[in-house]
Symmetry: C2
């Protein structure tokens, strides 16, 4: 099962089998059931999660009780509350499962230890974070520069997998209501 993590790292920073075994020793397998929460608002966030299988989302619930979705995560993606994890402050996000999910979890302590002990992994995390930053900047551009219909079309073009998500959640990800989203598909 952990082969998928190796392949994922290899794309940026190829490892020998021995090296990967060492890397893997810093992770722990964690499995969750549909609807289960990995992180709730206020929690101390122990882990960053690499998704081996399943489906999750991270979201924020605002003062009016509305949920806004920051991220979906499927196989090969990472998910957590990055701010709470990296700064070790209380979580402001929820992370929960839309399907039964298997993850490889790494604590901040082990992540930093791994970066110090093993150069290739510091390189991996640096590159991965850079790619994440670039993706986030694209999303900002889409949010400030495109109307909601364009954003929806861009989204399903970039991530066709997202078609299988409930539309209510797609809407919460795009920053529009489910009713507005529902009025698009017709065309």
């Amino acid at each position: 099962m952990s082969i998928i993590l190796k392949q994922h790292i290899d794309e940026i920073s190829p490892l020998t089998d021995d090296e990967f075994a060492f890397v893997l020793s810093h992770f722990t397998v964690k499995k969750f059931k549909k609807h289960q929460y990995l992180i709730q608002e206020g929690d101390l966030v122990q882990n960053d999660y690499f998704v081996v299988s399943g489906l999750l989302k991270s979201s924020h619930t605002d003062a009016r009780g509305k949920e806004h979705i920051l991220q979906f995560a499927m196989e090969n993606w990472w998910i957590s509350d990055p701010q709470a994890y990296h700064n070790q402050t209380p979580a402001t996000l929820y992370v929960n499962c839309l399907e039964d999910t298997e993850t490889l979890a790494i604590t901040l302590h082990n992540r930093e230890k791994l970066c110090v002990e093993f150069r290739k992994m510091e390189y991996f995390f640096r590159k991965k974070t850079t790619a994440g930053y670039i993706a986030m900047q694209k999303r900002v551009l889409s949010l400030i520069g495109s109307d909601s219909k364009e954003r929806y079309l861009q989204l399903i073009e970039q991530y066709p997998q997202f078609r299988r998500l409930p539309k209510t959640m797609i809407a919460a990800y795009l920053g529009i209501t489910r009713e507005t989203l529902s009025r698009f598909e017709a065309s």
Copy 2:
């Protein structure tokens, strides 16, 4: 003048004077006049720029000719077209000066060389990028979760310095029209 870069790095990864001299040798001083472009759409992006003094913005011009602002940069900030810089693909953004500006520029080649040669700087860039990712995620949350007036108030609370920017640009950063922004301040 480069003392400000040292102080900036020291906040994350403290350096001795000798170490900093070594780091600095990887940068070149570049100065620009108000209205000058550092990067234009289609360019090969040579540098990431650390701002010593002055003021800049990065922006994208869409198919309708409208400008959307991704970032402002003042003293102590970094600016570039990250996607074009890190992937060495043609720029999709413009970066230009709102005031006369002094920068310390680093090529991707020198940045990577520096990371390999000098561990503390790889740590610095990794942490800096992580912080940038977290800030970007906050902005996404603000865009999908708050209406335009709330976003404006959040912005001037988080960055009071931005008050000195032309409102047209604040609007282009928030993803609203200048007319809409103009109708807020009254209250």
